[in-house]
Symmetry: C2
Subunit: 219 residues, 2 copies
DNA sequence: ATAATAATTTAGATTAGTCTAAAAATTATT
DNA sequence: AATAATTTTTAGACTAATCTAAATTATTAT
């Protein structure tokens, strides 16, 4: 149907629109895909010919409904596979992303529905990211970056932006997990770093870089 | 490491050597891969450069130890995934082959070891084919084609050659399953078709074509 | 409004894998 | 042993995805 490469571009565009805003630039895609802008332009022409994206030279890109459906299906598969690896095999949440990057391209409707059933229809993946249903619908309220909150706010950790092993292991070491209650005790002006408590425990410091990669909902 | 295409060629060569004999021809590979002889020649040069096969122009092909190791690892993954689909998800034995053709190329040692553990280290797949261990060793005695046996022989069904949905569903309808006791009541000279009984039941006819796709061990 | 800078696209190559048609080598038949 | 048939390889071309370098368009600063 679509090549792995096409699927990866569509997923990247979806995620960029999700966080960055309405239209996404050639350079942003190139950065996300670790490729060159010229390669991106070639692919944009191809995806546009296939009616998967809206693309006008120099004007940036959006997904068509068709393209969004493909992207959401890849994301669904990625997150269900991550959940399978953690729940059924002995994977830790920091070990699953790279394998899921491969598994998300396996093409079998029956397979993914059976995995969904096997896992008892989970709503979120091991990183707290919502899993789209078979129709591509997301049924979970949107979380926000911890870095956006202010002094004395109390919130619940619901997910991460960065899925890298290094970052996830840092969270493990710091005692920050999905569902943890995080209270902001202080925000340091100079570097926007935070003093927080986790589950009402002793306070710790985290950098703004870290706070920008933690997703929470207000309590 | 190796591309999907290279892996598929190595697997095809392994299987051809396994059944056909010691050396395998360009045309045989082309047929098995549903491609053209010219494409095969191109790939043989490449695999030879990588020291995965022994290849001399016009002289046919064998696998090097390195190439055989790669082939056996792909076969291991294919068969473990088939077992997973049948044992843990609701797949029938005639539904698993095409999905396993994709899953066999997923590259993660941890994943395949965990799947093996999850299945409790099975020795054979849903079609009775032996599963190589992590070192590439096969620990199951070799089966033979039902078409090779003679009148009054009694044997046990252990596997199939053809993995197609059509053939497996035919076996289901005929009541022939892994472990069935098959007795050869009569061999018709004219077309080498067989009259057999299954588990001492009523006798049925099967063509030589069918008998050549059923693997058995003598009882 | 013009010039400088940054973003994006085009031009031209490269690599993996495939194909058809033609040439060369091997095998079989007289 | 020579010829015919078959198998295999080579030659040249195509597509998908990528790259570098150059050209073009858009944005920002003067
Ligand atoms: Mn992930
Ligand atoms: Mn995830
Ligand atoms: Mn199979
Ligand atoms: Mn099998």
């Amino acid at each position: 149907m679509h090549s792995f490469t096409e699927e990866n571009y569509l997923k990247a565009i979806y995620k960029l629109i999700e966080q960055e805003g309405d239209v996404v630039s050639t350079n942003a895609i190139a950065e996300k895909m670790s490729t060159k802008a010229a390669s991106v332009t070639d692919m944009l022409k191809k995806l546009s010919d296939k009616k998967l994206i809206n693309y006008q030279k120099y004007q940036g890109v959006t997904l068509t409904p068709k393209g969004e459906k493909v992207a959401l299906n890849i994301i669904r598969k990625h997150r269900l596979w991550e959940m399978f690896l953690v729940e059924k095999l002995d994977f830790k949440w920091d070990e699953v992303h790279d394998v899921a990057e491969q598994l998300e391209h396996i093409n079998s409707d029956k397979l993914i529905e059976e995995i969904d059933k096997f896992l008892n229809y989970p709503k979120v993946d091991p990183h707290g990211d919502p899993i789209p249903d078979a129709k591509g619908k997301l049924n979970i309220p949107k979380s926000h970056l911890l870095s956006k909150f202010k002094k004395n706010d109390v919130c619940i950790m619901t997910g991460v932006v960065d899925h890298s092993t290094a970052f996830l292991q840092y969270l493990d070491r710091s005692g920050i997990a999905l569902g943890s209650e995080i209270k902001i005790k202080e925000i340091i002006e100079f570097d926007r770093s935070l003093q927080i408590t986790i589950n009402k425990g002793a306070s710790i410091f985290i950098s703004n870089d870290v706070a920008k990669n933690i997703l929470v909902i207000i309590k």
